[in-house]
């Protein structure tokens, strides 16, 4: 299929159409509003539903209702909007509904800013809303990958009857890149005998997250856990870059940061430095085993993020005991240049860096 030059947000909207989604409910927020603008034009062309809701709270609950009626449905938002949707996400997870969420992350906390960030990693991978649940979370690093992840997100949401999030950042949303739409490969939605579409010649279908009986609630929690275990077994995705041989530093980065880190690594490799990259593609399930194995061939690990240190906690968890873990982050919407990252890697190589979470920060030590 011919490639088309598209802005990330518009490509995400088109990917949802290609995935067979005809029901989109959303509320405008920078830097993802082009998804809504694109679908406001595009949905009518395919007899789909575009609904601009009164709030993210309402939009996310409309997803609950649409998914309950058996259709593929999704929304897109950015960090503060996802916070408002977190109530519904919790209910959607508890009620085991397939829904796709796009978060084009901007800096926070609070109103923060509108520039790219990776500061919603905790919210996306550890919960966000209340209760014991997880989303399946993808972290695309290119517009093409965002397209592929959106399509995969619909398929896996249906497979697991679980909300799936594509966690991009402002760069993914705003950047233009060539993309191809592998529409022929999209699997149609499976039968949904659980959907609430009218009780005819069968018992009642009931979609709820309320289980007042403790044994029933425990059962629901255990069913959810079993799904997360299955995801950890079957859905882990990652990319290894120059990690086959022994390394002095293994860089772990996801999304757009991994692209910049690659450029830095290439430059250092040209200088003979032994550096590789492990890029988590699924953020939940986190590629713990892959990070552990790659770190086992390295002397140290450096996590690079657009945050003050979130994914690095999972890197600590994954890294072999005693492995020195370092962290480099930029925040506020500032993006590191490849040189910023290669400087940090050089610090680790030279023994000038401070171990993350073990030693005090330099300013604290002085």
């Amino acid at each position: 299929m011919a490639k088309k030059l598209m802005k990330g947000n518009e490509a995400i909207g088109e990917a949802a159409i290609q995935a067979g989604c005809r029901h989109y409910f959303a509320y405008p927020i920078t830097p993802q509003t082009e998804v809504a603008e694109y679908l406001a034009r595009r949905m009518p062309e395919v007899d789909g539903v575009f609904l601009q809701a009164e709030s993210e709270v309402a939009a996310s609950n409309m997803l609950f209702g649409a998914s309950s009626a058996g259709v593929r449905t999704f929304t897109s938002s950015s960090s503060p909007g996802i916070s408002l949707m977190s109530e519904a996400i919790s209910y959607i997870a508890g009620a085991q509904l397939p829904v796709v969420f796009i978060n084009i992350v901007r800096g926070g906390p609070g109103l923060g800013g509108i520039l790219p960030a990776q500061s919603d990693y905790f919210q996306a991978t550890k919960g966000g809303g209340h209760g014991d649940y997880h989303l399946l979370v993808f972290g695309p690093s290119t517009v093409q990958e965002a397209v592929d992840h959106v399509i995969l997100a619909f398929e896996l949401a249906d497979k697991y009857r679980n909300p799936v999030m594509v966690l991009g950042d402002g760069m993914i949303g705003q950047m233009m890149e060539p993309v191809a739409f592998p529409a022929a490969d999209v699997s149609p939605p499976p039968p949904k005998p659980w959907a609430t579409v009218g009780m005819k010649n069968r018992p009642q279908n009931l979609i709820r997250s309320l289980f007042l009986n403790p044994d029933e609630l425990e059962q629901n929690n255990l069913e959810l856990r079993a799904k997360y275990d299955a995801m950890e077994r079957d859905e882990v995705r990652f990319e290894s870059y120059l990690t086959d041989e022994d390394m002095d530093v293994l860089v772990v980065a996801y999304g757009t940061m991994a692209r910049i880190a690659k450029t830095a690594i290439d430059a250092l490799r040209e200088g003979g430095k032994r550096v590789g990259l492990l890029r988590p593609i699924t953020l939940f399930p986190f590629p713990r085993q892959a990070v552990r194995e790659a770190a086992g061939r390295a002397k140290s690990v450096l996590a690079v993020e657009l945050s003050t240190g979130q994914m690095v906690e999972d890197v600590h968890w994954a890294a072999p005991d005693g492995m020195p873990v370092y962290f480099f982050g930029k925040v506020g919407g500032n993006i590191p240049a490849p040189e910023d990252i290669s400087d940090e890697i050089s610090k680790v190589l030279d023994g000038r860096a401070t171990r993350h979470g073990v030693e005090p920060r330099p300013e604290e030590a002085s």
Partner: protein, 250 residues
């Protein structure tokens, strides 16, 4: 000689014993909804949305598909379901804490978009499930657990008249306030509920029926006293009648 059943459980109700308190009017209102669905032949194509509040378990009592919403969000769920499947009959069943407090935005905008859904709004002037707290619909001076000296309108404002509020919207809809404190009023309430579902069946408009209801337990009254209290205190403030009809000139 053959027996003829002239009164029985509607097919749209299950035979499950409800958890509602003695004297509560939820049972009556459930029945009015169920009879309407039966009479209009809608049961097999209906999806109900339960609220958070006393009616949270309504799905046990209606013999149709159901969803259970987050607090106040039922009109948003109903919107999603109806937009996905316009052929279904979709109704929400909400109390005054759910609809008139935490769910006002979802209510107003569902009504303003003209979603072809039906909302059964049960107004008993108090939070029942959580044990009798002040609601936006609580009467001036009414004592509740969070207005122990009576609702002070200087601090809490006046009770929200939901039916009148929704009727101000320009989008065509059907809005009526009814009561169930006497057999005569129950018969009239049935007509309104059925009318609301008829409008949905015809694909005509958004419909909301506000039903004045009692809460003997949290009002601290016997069931009979509660019916009298509704008549004497709520009726003057919450006038009954059709507030808006799709036939009204826009």
């Amino acid at each position: 000689m053959t027996a003829t059943t002239i009164f029985g459980t509607p097919a749209s109700l299950t035979d499950r014993i409800t958890h509602y308190c003695p004297g509560c009017t939820h049972g009556i209102i459930h029945r009015l909804v169920a009879e309407s669905l039966d009479e209009l032949g809608l049961r097999e194509t209906t999806v109900g949305i339960a609220p958070v509040g006393c009616a949270v378990l309504a799905y046990h009592y209606f013999a149709c598909d159901f969803q259970e919403a987050a607090h106040g969000r039922a009109p948003a769920l109903a919107t999603g379901t109806k937009r996905a499947r316009p052929d279904l009959t979709v109704f929400t069943y909400q109390g005054d804490g759910d609809l008139a407090s935490i769910g006002t935005a979802e209510l107003i905008h569902a009504a303003n978009r003209g979603e072809k859904i039906t909302i059964i709004f049960v107004n008993n002037a108090i939070y029942g499930m959580t044990g009798g707290q002040m609601a936006p619909t609580t009467m001036p001076g009414q004592v509740t657990s969070t207005s122990p000296a009576g609702r002070d309108v200087e601090l809490a404002g006046y009770p929200l008249r939901v039916a009148e509020l929704v009727a101000t919207l320009r989008t065509p809809s059907f809005v009526e306030r009814v009561s169930v404190h006497s057999p005569r009023h129950i018969i009239n309430a049935k007509r309104a509920v059925r009318q609301a579902f008829e409008y949905q069946k015809e694909g005509r408009c958004f419909s909301l029926v506000e039903v004045l209801s009692t809460c003997p337990t949290n009002w601290g009254l016997t069931p009979l006293e509660a019916l009298k209290w509704l008549e004497e205190n709520m009726l003057p403030y919450y006038p009954l009648g059709v507030k808006k009809s799709p036939d009204d000139e826009v």
